[in-house]
């Protein structure tokens, strides 16, 4: 998944935005409504937005629809509707799709765990402590996000080659962890910065030991940010193709499976897995959005 690394910044920014979102910032916009004539211009922009959003969704709908295609080998032309592919996902090619999918999940979970831990530690240090070489460290955290994936992938592969490390699942995990750390730092940092230090002080005043204060006060307050970072990093890892392709050897992941089978035709089962992942993710995100809107409404009522 090429640009997905940079996409992370976007998703990270979104998570960040959710946390910092209060009411007051919107105030400027509310009073901006002023009496105007209703003309062509007022319809142009909404109409454009609808068309643009529909355009963005076309390939998703296509992938979803073709997961129900009664295809035989390659899933190119429509042959009829069936639920078979959903019910027998793992039966094709001796379960190659499912094996690749399982690998992707394992790699995603392990690299998310490592990257979230290391990234959260860095984020806390950057906001809360003074240390030397701050700008060098900021640069070191920024650069992986500004480096094209093909360079990251080729670089790691060159290093593994020079050191003589065979490529397998471990090298994929090492690679994914590397590009996830920066995105975790960016996401968690926003949360740490918005944390009121007085809460931790209160904990210390009440004779909490440093570790008690961290686990009972700081960590619970950081949890939304850490969760957002973990989700982001899992999404990045799960959909990464370019870096994986350079460092995977013979191990298959879901994107790699799709890439390799692209030349000979992709089975509908791949569409099934992609659609299922999509539905799962979209339900998660919509639920988060709805609860956020509900919370904003509640707060607005209180204020």
């Amino acid at each position: 998944m090429s640009g997905e690394v940079q996409a992370g910044a976007v998703l990270g920014g979104l998570a960040e935005e959710q946390q910092l979102d209060g009411g007051p910032r919107r105030a400027g916009g509310r009073r901006g409504a002023r009496p105007r004539r209703i003309g062509l211009g007022d319809w142009l922009l909404p109409a454009y937005a609808v068309i643009a959003l529909v355009f963005l969704l076309i390939p998703i709908v296509y992938t979803f629809v073709f997961s129900f295609n009664d295809s035989i080998k390659s899933n190119i032309s429509w042959r009829g509707f069936t639920f078979d592919k959903w019910l027998n996902v793992c039966n094709v090619e001796g379960g190659a799709v499912c094996e690749a999918f399982g690998n992707s999940i394992v790699i995603g979970l392990v690299s998310t765990l490592i990257a979230t831990t290391l990234g959260t530690m860095i984020a806390i240090a950057i906001v809360r402590y003074r240390f030397r070489a701050r700008s060098a460290i900021s640069l070191l955290l920024f650069l992986p996000m500004a480096t094209p994936e093909v360079v990251l992938g080729a670089g790691l592969a060159a290093q593994f080659l020079a050191v003589g490390v065979p490529k397998d699942m471990l090298t994929i995990i090492l690679a994914h962890t590397m590009f996830c750390i920066s995105f975790v730092v960016v996401t968690v940092k926003a949360r740490v910065a918005s944390l009121d230090p007085a809460l931790e002080e209160a904990g210390r005043d009440l004779y909490g030991s440093p570790s008690q204060v961290f686990w009972r006060v700081t960590f619970p307050l950081l949890t939304p940010g850490i969760l957002a970072a973990a989700l982001l990093s899992f999404a990045l890892s799960f959909d990464d193709f370019i870096i994986t392709n350079f460092n995977s050897g013979s191990v298959s992941t879901f994107p790699k499976y799709v890439y390799i089978s692209a030349s000979r035709g992709i089975p509908a089962e791949a569409n099934v897995i992609a659609s299922a992942v999509f539905l799962f993710a979209i339900v998660l995100v919509i639920a988060a959005q709805v609860s956020r809107a509900a919370r904003a409404k509640r707060l607005a009522k209180l204020g």
Binding site: A9, L14, L57, M121, T147, A154, I242, I282
Partner: protein, 303 residues
């Protein structure tokens, strides 16, 4: 956004206060990880790019050296790919900006009064992230293939020459790059436009500026941080991408980009020095372009 996030640390009100061994403990593992798996690979990429073929002539075996000739060779062989990469990425970035700006404006400004609608539209913008990058690119390939409904009807209407193709052309590659990176453009634009204070626009029209002048002199300058972040988030991954340009996806033999030749040299012909030299050229060019662009657009504080 990611780019902005790094700038804010220094100026934060709760500036870093303490210096302690805890900071070292928090930073060390993550920073060490990045040095080991991000910086060191870049160094080994540089060393690899200067290697010379093994004197016994084994394929894929190289000795360390100082073979500058590699760079001259790759530039003379692959200059077309280099030009193509940056050309395609530039066109795709401009198209994505043109596509995204009105959409982001609608979500961020017009839809301000309806937070739930805003949230749902944002979900639709990032929805493509939740379906595999490779599958959505393949979906476009099939939607726009020669036998597809769209292309055959365009041909029937004589809007397209009977023997014309879409997939495999530069247009298809640029189309794919644009589509795949639109969310990276829309989200940063949205983030700045959402904060746009509409009173400035009113002031502009109160001073008898035409709507177009207000847009050019007020809206655009105020949304500059979003434009810069969005164009970078689109341009960098687009320049290094090789999925869209790949023959199995939207590209053809004449649309190969730098990423394709890096992959082919590294993973297929095992010509590591050439792949490494190309990667270094790509990385250096991007760093120079980003540096100049950020300086020129007057948004240094983004980095």
């Amino acid at each position: 956004m990611a780019f902005a996030a790094f700038a804010t640390t220094e100026a934060q009100p709760q500036a870093p206060r303490r210096r302690s061994r805890i900071a070292l403990f928090l930073l060390l593992p993550g920073i060490a990880y990045l040095i080991l798996f991000f910086l060191a690979p870049l160094v080994s990429l540089l060393l690899t790019s200067l290697q010379q073929p093994n004197e016994f002539g084994d394929i894929g075996v190289y000795d360390y050296g100082f073979n500058w000739q590699n760079y001259v060779d790759v530039v003379s062989v692959y200059w077309e790919h280099i030009v193509r990469s940056f050309g395609y990425a530039l066109v795709a970035t401009v198209l994505a900006l043109a596509f995204s700006y009105p959409l982001a404006y609608f979500i961020g400004v017009t839809a301000r009064r309806w937070p739930l609608l805003q949230g749902l539209m944002l979900v639709l913008v990032i929805a493509p992230f939740f379906i595999s990058f490779l599958l959505r690119t393949l979906a476009w390939k099939q939607i726009l293939s020669d036998e597809s409904f769209i292309i055959t009807s365009l041909k029937a209407l004589s809007l397209l020459a009977p023997d014309a193709h879409f997939t495999g052309t530069p247009f298809a590659v640029i189309f794919g790059l644009t589509y795949n990176f639109i969310p990276f453009m829309t989200l940063p634009l949205y983030t700045t436009l959402e904060r746009l204070d509409l009173r400035y626009l009113e002031a502009g029209s109160d001073l008898y500026a035409s709507p177009f002048t207000v847009f050019r002199k007020v809206t655009v300058p105020l949304s500059m941080p979003g434009i810069v972040a969005g164009t970078l988030l689109t341009f960098i991954p687009a320049a290094g991408d090789y999925i869209n340009a790949s023959r199995d996806f939207l590209g053809g033999p004449d649309t190969q980009m730098m990423g394709n030749v890096i992959e082919a040299n590294f993973l297929v012909t095992l010509n590591y020095p050439a792949a490494a030299a190309l990667s270094i050229i790509l990385m250096a060019a991007i760093l120079v372009i980003v540096g100049v662009y950020v300086k020129r657009s007057g948004t240094e504080d983004l980095l």
